[in-house]
């Protein structure tokens, strides 16, 4: 068992190293715009993702269940899905700078994962089939929201460039505002239903298991808060036709809450973590 665990950890470290290389190359491409940097970033991202996939599979095999029960496992799968989405969106929207904004988030989460987060296990009372669907759906949502955040940051940067009327390197590398706005809208519409379904299942299930729909649990509370911010953004976009900038600020705020949610489940002891 311990030896098998070692394999998973090594695969994970290789993946993370590849992500770090990819991040450095993507940032290098943003500043220097060397074609080689972009290629390196792409190849390293793809290689990292493959190793990451293997790490997750090995972990799942050795545990004999889906590896999305403990917080490190969850974060790992979130960044795995985020990288996959990033590879897709970069191609789809022809936003070569995307890696420079998604990969730092991926790397930061990935580095925190083994050290900062303790291996949290769910308390026995909440282990049921529902939990898998709840977590899996929420995860897909979270991955899309990582991209939503990256698009929002790029939008705000490009908007600043255009407002100040003094173009720097970033102006040339970043795509048009409209493209970034579409990307952030798209990732929100992609992530939000998953997030909603995931959270809804959690709430329904909590009602059944704990007897109360909103049990005093920090993770549940922050999740709801985060959901409200994203819901407001989506409503603002659809009904109020918000300006891209306001939507971008909300996307950043929502992502902040998302990170807080993750932190809360580590620092504060609730029913989600034991």
């Amino acid at each position: 068992m311990t030896r098998a665990l070692g394999v998973n950890a090594i695969l994970y470290d290789v993946a993370l190293t590849a992500y770090i290389v990819a991040m450095a190359a993507a940032l290098g491409h943003l500043v220097r715009r060397r074609e080689g940097f972009w290629r390196l970033a792409l190849v390293a991202t793809q290689a990292g993702w493959l190793f990451h996939t293997m790490a997750i599979v090995v972990r799942g095999v050795e545990l004999g269940r889906l590896p999305i029960l403990t917080l490190p496992e969850i974060v790992s799968v979130v960044i795995w899905a985020a990288v996959l989405l990033e590879l897709w969106a970069e191609r789809q929207y022809r936003v070569r700078a995307l890696g420079a904004f998604v990969l730092p988030v991926v790397v930061a989460l990935g580095l925190v994962l083994p050290t900062g987060l303790r291996s949290l296990a769910l308390e026995p009372s909440i282990r049921s089939a529902w939990i898998w669907v709840h977590v899996a759906l929420a995860l897909l949502g979270l991955a899309a929201l990582v991209l939503n955040f990256a698009a929002a940051v790029m939008y705000l940067l490009q908007e600043r460039q255009l407002k100040t009327r003094r173009p720097s390197a970033v102006y040339y590398r970043l795509p048009p505002l409209e493209t970034l706005d579409r990307l952030s809208h798209r990732t929100l519409t992609l992530g939000f239903p998953f997030l909603t379904a995931g959270l809804l299942l959690g709430v329904l299930w909590a009602g059944a298991a704990w007897g109360s729909v909103l049990a005093w649990d920090p993770l549940a509370l922050f999740s709801v808060l985060m959901w409200l911010v994203y819901a407001a953004t989506l409503a603002g976009r659809t009904i109020g036709r918000w300006q891209g900038r306001r939507a971008a600020y909300f996307a950043v705020a929502g992502f902040g809450l998302l990170l807080l949610t993750l932190c809360a489940s580590v620092l504060l002891q609730g029913k989600h973590g034991a």
């Binding site: 715009r33 060397r34 074609e35 009327r165 048009p176 505002l177 409209e178 109020g240 891209g244």
Partner: protein, 430 residues
């Protein structure tokens, strides 16, 4: 016996425009010149690029100097010019420098306006013409196909052709940075002026539609609207129209700003989530400076646009450096490829020769074994093939390595001699 790849000609760098103009020939004349030169066997391969900025001969010949002289004598003859008159303006390069030159020309790094896109099409036309005249051989074929791919890479991997360096095209580029596509974006042109009209035209070329034109003088608005395929609107309706459009180009001689913060705010309020881009070309300014502070409004005056133009120029220079580095790498690659081209015919005839021997001997042996089973035949076949392959391995490797090391020709001779190959089948000569 050895041949050399060369480029000779004149361009905007070396010859005055009158001379270039008078030497530039129409296609049928060029065809004549190419056919004539080919018939006389001046060069193994030949291609003529003739545009208003350059007249150049690309070729492969044993005596490049003579080939160049013959080509320009023939080109000059059509205009009654002697070679002596042309000679002082000609620049000739060969081998590596010629390759570099071909790549730089195709990639528009040698153009008067660096990064312009026409030249690639002109090089392609010249190549097609030479192909039609059958004056293209393996070397020019390889050179040009790689030149086209270099040009494509320079265009897609650098921003050299994309960065605007005039005020009007910079304004349009900014519009693209805001809106992405210009398709269906409505434009309002306030006043008139050369730069403003050009910007409006460029926006419409990008797909912007419709164009509204307003002027203090209604007749002037009507004329301009007609000229630009737009719609004239009364000056009093400007605030209402502004709420509808995405881009406003202001270029009036008004002493006071005509678009005030209140106007812009009113225009944005009705529009929901669509940015408004104001291009203020008026001096003094037509748009109040504080308009830019409104959310979703981007306002650029002449000075701002000039700032962006300057930034574009600097960026373009950086991009040109990147393009040159890319060309340099491709030149290195092509040299390797060229050396392979050099030894490939020898390798092919070497294989053919040994295969011929093998087939002949095998048939003889099988004729003497009429009762041979299928298995025996197969064994003999495999045996003879294995012997040939093993014998060939060393000389072929030697040829490849020596050509990459730059002394392929010597080994081509040695191998041809030793294996009794037809002379002249190796190398670039045909």
């Amino acid at each position: 016996m050895t041949t050399t790849l060369f480029v000779a000609g004149m361009s905007h760098r070396t010859a005055p425009v009158e001379l270039r103009e008078s030497l530039a020939l129409e296609e049928d004349k060029l065809r004549e010149v190419l056919a004539g030169l080919a018939a006389r066997g001046v060069a193994a391969e030949l291609m003529i690029l003739s545009t208003c900025n350059r007249v150049e001969v690309y070729g492969v010949a044993e005596a490049p100097g003579e080939a160049r002289a013959a080509a320009f004598r023939a080109l000059g003859a059509h205009r009654g010019m002697t070679l002596a008159a042309l000679e002082p303006h000609l620049v000739a390069t060969s081998d590596e420098d010629a390759i570099r030159h071909a790549f730089r020309v195709a990639a528009s790094l040698d153009s008067l306006v660096v990064g312009e896109s026409q030249i690639l099409g002109q090089v392609k036309d010249a190549f097609a013409l030479a192909q039609a005249c059958r004056t293209v051989g393996p070397v020019l074929n390889a050179l040009m196909s790689q030149a086209f791919s270099v040009a494509k890479r320079v265009r897609t991997e650098t921003e050299i052709g994309r960065l605007a360096v005039s005020v009007s095209s910079t304004a349009v580029e900014l519009a693209r940075k805001i809106f992405g596509s210009l398709e269906g974006k409505a434009v309002l042109l306030l006043g008139a002026g050369e730069v403003a009209e050009l910007a409006a035209r460029l926006l419409m070329e990008g797909g912007a539609l419709p164009l509204y034109v307003a002027n203090r003088t209604p007749a002037r608005a009507r004329d301009l609207a007609e000229a630009l395929a737009g719609k004239a609107v009364a000056f009093a309706d400007v605030p209402a129209v502004m709420a509808e459009v995405d881009v406003v180009i202001a270029c009036t001689a008004a002493p006071e700003p005509i678009v005030r913060v209140a106007d812009a705010r009113a225009a944005v309020q009705g529009r929901r989530a669509r940015p408004l881009f104001l291009i203020d070309l008026g001096v003094p300014r037509n748009v109040e400076g504080a308009v830019n502070d409104l959310d979703g409004v981007f306002c650029y005056d002449v000075d701002d646009l000039q700032q962006v133009v300057d930034a574009n120029r600097r960026e373009r220079q950086r991009e040109a450096q990147r393009a040159e580095a890319l060309v340099e790498r491709e030149v290195g690659r092509f040299l390797v490829r060229l050396r392979d081209v050099e030894v490939v015919p020898t390798i092919v005839s070497l294989r053919e020769r040994l295969e011929g021997i093998r087939r002949g001997e095998l048939d003889k042996a099988l004729a003497r074994l009429p009762d041979a089973t299928e298995e025996t035949r197969q064994v003999l076949e495999a045996l003879s093939q294995a012997i040939v392959n093993k014998v060939l391995h060393a000389p072929i490797e030697k040829l490849r390595h020596s050509s990459r090391a730059g002394h392929g020709l010597r080994w081509i001779e040695v191998v041809s001699e030793v294996f009794g190959l037809r002379r002249g089948s190796g190398g670039r000569d045909r």
